[in-house]
Amino acid sequence: MLAYVINRTGLAILIVVVAMTLLYGMIHAVPGDPVNVILGPRATPEMKIELEQRMGLDKPVVVQLVTFFVNVATGDLGVDVFSNQPVSSLVFEMLPHTLYLVFAGIIWAIILGIPMGCYSAIRRNSFMDKFIGIISVGTIAIPSFVVALYALLIFAVKLKWLPAIGVGEAGNVQDMILHLILPAFSVGLSWVGYIARMVRASMLEVLGENHIRTVKAFGLPQRMITYRYALRLAILPTITILGVGIGRMISSAVFAEIVFARPGIGKLIYDAVVSRNYPVVMGSVLISTILFVAATTIADFIAAMFDPRIRKNL
């Protein structure tokens, strides 16, 4: 297990390094030059040279890349072009809001998705199974930002049941939860369908196995068989998918944060893109990529913990 953890972590770090190198390479390959991007068309040559030196862009690409990684390793993500604040403090100030949102989304998707999947698997081919199947495909297909917009329109603007914008008053837990409901709904909805389908498929497989037949023969109630014995195995593929899901949820969170005007890493990067604040964009992309890779890696660890076969083939 330890060897697997070390190898897998090494691979994760390698992937992040290659990903950032690719992004850096692309930045140098495409026609837009960061300095022009930041300063705009009216910049004087002196301003350009000054900024180039400040950002280290006058040095060779390889040197820049190495400097970038050395800085990242020491926690330095560069400086906001406009406010001169360190990017890392901006990102880490915003990150908790995004994490709350993503976790709230995952949790309600799990709470609803797992029972839906189990029910479908047990009552296979029943009317409810087919109905849940259609709902699942439907929720997977609908874009999360349309869900966010419709939810905003219906529950906040028309019915006025829930607040429309912001995260709520800091410290007031009830208010913050009320503000979290609609964004978390839009972030999690497509995962309800995903989880239900995954659980159904793996549940059907597990229910056919010998040890389940044995507990059935012992006369245990179906509820107990499903949730205590079968789900334990059937949940594994779902955990792996959830790891990948974090990355897609970060994408949905960007939209949820913009639609509901919530602070967070999505709002941060969006504002930075609009104002062409290049170091903030790079820093946010790096942090969200690290988050994504970390989530998939941890999901793989959990899967390997339950299933020794995974440890062998990395």
């Binding site: 290659v18 990903a19 690719l22």
Partner: protein, 291 residues
């Protein structure tokens, strides 16, 4: 004679497809939605009652009426006309980027699966690296550099979907690599290009096309999403995303614009998904259900 046969063959394939899909209500629904969407995109010029950029300020933010089926936006433009034209943009972006990424992904996947080990490792590592960016984050980084435009959207979609196609093709190629018919071909002196194009490609293309059809909703969503953020297709070109943004800005005045911009997007993604699922069940039941 041979030509005749092949026509007959494809005819029977088509009728088989129609026969099978007729037993799948969701598949039919998908087929109808997709056909309707493609038709309205192709015939957009003849369908739209107003010019998509024609302003009518006194009539701004009007509710649906016989003059304007879906009302008007904040500049008095006819929302129905813009929605129909937006469909054309969405379809164009989806088709171009899917075709290009499918081609590049297939070539890279064939190379990774058939080529030397080190090249395989290198390609797989780069695939994984590209996939490790959350899509929207990668898109935002590219928009910062390239500026918002339809071409940026297409580029982002191509870059992020190549790895998915590449991986599928690689797995299939590796599975086929040691089959007898490939070994036989090699022993008769066939070159790499011939083996790959004549023997590997026909065997990997089927599942790939199904995955591509299920990927179209994702592409449509990315285009609409970026346009919603004001980072995709440039105004005044209509896109479902930019219509949604206009609606979002005036959400307290009129709900019609958001409903009108969102509904076709939902129907299109649902249509392609239902059709894709149905195609997969008909042509390739083995393909992993959760892919």
């Amino acid at each position: 004679m041979t030509q005749n046969n092949s026509i007959n063959h494809s005819m029977s394939g088509m009728s088989l497809f129609l026969k099978k899909i007729s037993r799948d209500p969701l598949g039919i629904l998908g087929l109808i939605l997709v056909t309707g969407m493609i038709f309205s995109a192709l015939a957009a010029e003849w369908i739209i009652p107003y010019d998509i950029a024609a302003l009518d300020i006194p009539e701004r933010l009007a509710s649906p009426s016989l003059d304007h089926f879906l009302g008007t936006d904040h500049l008095g433009r006819d929302v129905f006309s813009r929605v129909i034209m937006g469909g054309r943009i969405a379809l164009w972006v989806a088709l171009v980027s899917t075709a290009v990424s499918l081609t590049i992904g297939t070539i890279l996947g064939l190379i990774a699966g058939y080529g030397p080990r080190w090249l395989d490792n290198l390609l797989i590592l780069s695939f994984d690296a590209v996939r490790s960016f959350p899509t929207i984050m990668f898109a935002l980084a590219m928009v910062t550099l390239l500026g918002p435009s339809m071409n940026t959207v297409i580029f982002v979609v191509i870059a992020t979907s190549i790895p998915a196609y590449g991986r599928v093709v690689r797995t299939q190629t590796q599975a086929l690599k040691h089959n007898e018919f490939i070994l036989a071909e090699q022993s008769q002196g066939a070159g790499m290009i011939r083996v790959l194009l004549v023997h590997m490609l026909p065997n990997v293309i089927g599942p790939l096309l199904i995955i591509a059809s299920m990927d179209i909703p994702v592409v449509v969503t990315i285009e609409a999403g970026l346009s919603f953020l004001g980072l995709g297709v440039k105004p005044p070109t209509p896109s479902w995303g930019s219509i949604l943004y206009d609606g979002y800005s005036f959400i307290r005045n009129t709900p019609w614009i958001i409903i009108a911009g969102g509904l076709p997007l939902v129907l299109t993604t649902l249509g392609f998904t239902f059709l894709g699922e149905s195609l997969r069940d008909i042509f390739d039941p083995k393909l992993n259900k959760e892919q």
